[in-house]
C-alpha cells in the first residue's frame, strides 16, 4: 500500500535531486570555465537531462530495474509499459511513478557529472550522442548490478546512494574522456582561472542542499534512516570542507573559496555510498579522508598524470566515490555506530566485496566509455576546431553569448 508520508518525502527528494543537476551542477561547472564557454556548459546539462529522461522511459529504467539476468534487466518496462497510477513499487511504500521519477534523476546527474571532463573543447553533438549511449551501456547495467537485484547486489555490495553506481562510473568515465579528447589548448602551461568563482559557490550550495534528496531520499522512506543519512551527509560535507580549507591554508597561506566548496563536494560524494549505513563518527572520518584524498588526487591528475580532466571530476567524484565505497566496509560495524554488517560477514570480507564492486564497475565504465567515445568520434566527431575552441563554444556552438552587457546593453 502507498504510504503517503514516504511518498511526500520521495516527491520532495525527487525535486531536490533534479535541482542538483539543474541548476546546481550546471552552475558549479559553468562558474569554473571561461566566460566564453558558460552557455555551452549550461546547455550540456540541460540537453543531457532531457535526453536521459526520454531514454529512461524508453528503456533505461527497464534495463536497470526490470527483472532480468544478474547482468542486465529485461525490457518488460520499456516505454513504462503497464505502469498504472496507483501501483506501488515493489519493496517500497511509494507509487511506482515516484520511484521511476526519483531514480531518473540519478540517471540524469551521472552523465552530467562527466561534463566537467570535456568542457571547453567538445562538440555539442558529441555530448548528446555520447551521453545517450553511455546511460544505456554504462549506467543501466551498473544500476542493475547494484540496485536492480543484479550480481553485485547478490554478492552483498553496500552502496546506499551511488558511490559505485554514480560516482565511480562518472569519475572513471571522466578520466577516460579527458584522455581521449586530449587537453584544452594551452594545458597545462596556460590555464585559465574560473571565470566566476561566486557562481561555483552557488552551484556547490545547491548541490549540498539537493544532496539531502540524494542520500536521505535513498532511504525511500521518511524515517530514522533518512534522518541519519541526512545528518551524516551534512557532517561529512562540513568536515571535508574544513579539511580542504586547512590544507590550503597551510600550503598557500590563504584558504580559497573555490577550495572550500570543492571540499564540500568531495565530502558529499565520498559519504554517498555509506550514508545509510554509518553514524556520526563514521561521517567525521569520511569527511577528513574525503577532504585530504581528493585534494591530493586533484594535484596528481593534473601534475603527475598531466590529464586535463578540466573540472576534476575524477579526482573529486571518482576518487571520493571509490574511497567512500571502500571505507564503508570499515565504518558500518555496530562498533563504529553503523547499522552493522550482515551476520557472519567480516570487515575484511565486506571490504573485498566493496573492492570487487568498485573495480569491476571501474573497468566496465572505463572500457565502455573508451569504446563509446570512439563510436561518437566516428559518427559526429569529438572535438571542435581549434578556432572554435579559441573563440569559445558559446558563440561557435550555440550562436550566443553568456553575457551581453556591452554598452550597458543599449546597443550592439
Amino acid at each position: 500500500m502507498i504510504n503517503a508520508a514516504d511518498t511526500a518525502w520521495m516527491l520532495t527528494s525527487t525535486v531536490l535531486v533534479l535541482f542538483m543537476t539543474l541548476p546546481g551542477l550546471a552552475l558549479f561547472y559553468a562558474g569554473l570555465v571561461r566566460a566564453k564557454n558558460i552557455l555551452s556548459v549550461l546547455m550540456h546539462c540541460v540537453a543531457i537531462t532531457c535526453a536521459v529522461s526520454v531514454l529512461w522511459v524508453v528503456c533505461v529504467y527497464s534495463l536497470a530495474f526490470g527483472e532480468g539476468s544478474p547482468f542486465i534487466g529485461g525490457l518488460q518496462h520499456a516505454f513504462l509499459a503497464g505502469l498504472t497510477r496507483d501501483a506501488v513499487h515493489p519493496g517500497t511504500a511509494i507509487p511506482d511513478t515516484v520511484f521511476i521519477m526519483y531514480q531518473m534523476t540519478f540517471a540524469i546527474i551521472t552523465p552530467a557529472l562527466i561534463v566537467g571532463a570535456y568542457v571547453e573543447r567538445i562538440k555539442f553533438a558529441a555530448v548528446l550522442l555520447f551521453s545517450s549511449l553511455w546511460v544505456v551501456v554504462v549506467y543501466a547495467p551498473a544500476a542493475h548490478w547494484v540496485w536492480g537485484g543484479g550480481w553485485l547486489a547478490g554478492l552483498g555490495v553496500m552502496d546506499f546512494a551511488g558511490g559505485i553506481v554514480v560516482h565511480t562510473t562518472a569519475g572513471i568515465s571522466a578520466l577516460v574522456a579527458a584522455i581521449v579528447l586530449g587537453p584544452r589548448d594551452g594545458f597545462p602551461q596556460h590555464n585559465h582561472p574560473p571565470h566566476a568563482p561566486w557562481m561555483v559557490m552557488v552551484g556547490a550550495c545547491l548541490l549540498w542542499c539537493g544532496w539531502f534528496g540524494f542520500n536521505a531520499g535513498s532511504a525511500v522512506a521518511s524515517n530514522g534512516t533518512a534522518g541519519m543519512a541526512m545528518l551524516v551527509t551534512h557532517m561529512s560535507a562540513a568536515v571535508a570542507s574544513l579539511t580542504w580549507m586547512a590544507i590550503e591554508w597551510v600550503r598557500f597561506g590563504k584558504p580559497s573559496m573555490v577550495g572550500i566548496v570543492t571540499g564540500t563536494i568531495a565530502g558529499l560524494a565520498t559519504i554517498t555510498p555509506a550514508s545509510g549505513f554509518v553514524g556520526p563518527a563514521g561521517a567525521l572520518i569520511i569527511g577528513v579522508v574525503a577532504g585530504g584524498v581528493c585534494y591530493v588526487a586533484v594535484d596528481i591528475v593534473k601534475r603527475s598524470f598531466r590529464v586535463d580532466d578540466s573540472l576534476d571530476v575524477f579526482a573529486v567524484h571518482g576518487v571520493g566515490g571509490m574511497a567512500g565505497t571502500l571505507m564503508t566496509a570499515f565504518l558500518v560495524p555496530l562498533a563504529m555506530g553503523g547499522t552493522g554488517l550482515p551476520e557472519g560477514v567480516t570487515v575484511a570480507h565486506q571490504f573485498g566485496i566493496q573492492a570487487i564492486g568498485v573495480l569491476v564497475t571501474a573497468v566496465w565504465s572505463g572500457g565502455m566509455t573508451y569504446a563509446l567515445l570512439k563510436i561518437t568520434q566516428a559518427l559526429v566527431g569529438l572535438r571542435t576546431s581549434r578556432e572554435s575552441e579559441s573563440q569559445g563554444l558559446d558563440l561557435t556552438g550555440h550562436g550566443e553569448n553568456g553575457y551581453n552587457m556591452g554598452f550597458g546593453g543599449s546597443s550592439q
Binding site: 590555464n191 585559465h192 582561472p193 574560473p194 568563482p197 590550503e248 598557500f252 590563504k254 580559497s256 573555490v258 577550495g259 570543492t262 585534494y295 586533484v298 594535484d299 593534473k302 576534476d312
Partner: protein, 112 residues
C-alpha cells in the same frame, strides 16, 4: 592644448580627482584598463593550481588641458597618484590640435 593620458592605481582615483579639482581641471574621462609592466602580478590559486595574473587592473585618465595648465596638471597628477611603489603608473603627454564641445560646437580651449 595637450591631451594627457595617465595610467594610475585604481584606488588613487579619489585622491587624484581632488587634486585636479583643486587646480581647476573640471573634466576628465576614465577607462578601466589592464597594465603590463615592471610590477609583478599577483598569484591566484584555484584548486591547487597557481595562476599568475600579469595584467594588473589600472585606471586610465584622459584629460585635455590648455597648454598653460600643463605643468600644474603634471605636478598635481604625479603627487596625488604617487604611492612610491612599483606600478604607480605613467603620464603621457600628446599634442592636442583641436577640441570641440559637442553640445555648443565651441572649439579650442573654451571647449574643455
Amino acid at each position: 592644448m595637450k591631451f594627457v593620458t595617465a595610467i594610475i592605481q585604481p584606488y588613487r582615483l579619489d585622491a587624484v580627482r581632488e587634486a585636479l579639482t583643486a587646480i581647476g581641471v573640471a573634466g576628465l574621462t576614465v577607462t578601466e584598463v589592464r597594465g603590463y609592466g615592471r610590477q609583478r602580478g599577483h598569484t591566484e590559486v584555484y584548486r591547487g593550481a597557481e595562476y599568475t595574473i600579469s595584467y594588473i587592473p589600472k585606471l586610465k585618465l584622459e584629460i585635455a588641458v590648455d597648454d598653460s595648465q600643463l605643468d600644474e596638471l603634471l605636478e598635481a597628477l604625479t603627487k596625488s597618484a604617487r604611492t612610491g611603489k612599483i606600478g604607480d603608473g605613467k603620464i603621457f603627454v600628446l599634442d592636442l590640435e583641436a577640441a570641440v564641445r559637442i553640445r555648443t560646437g565651441e572649439s579650442g580651449s573654451s571647449a574643455l
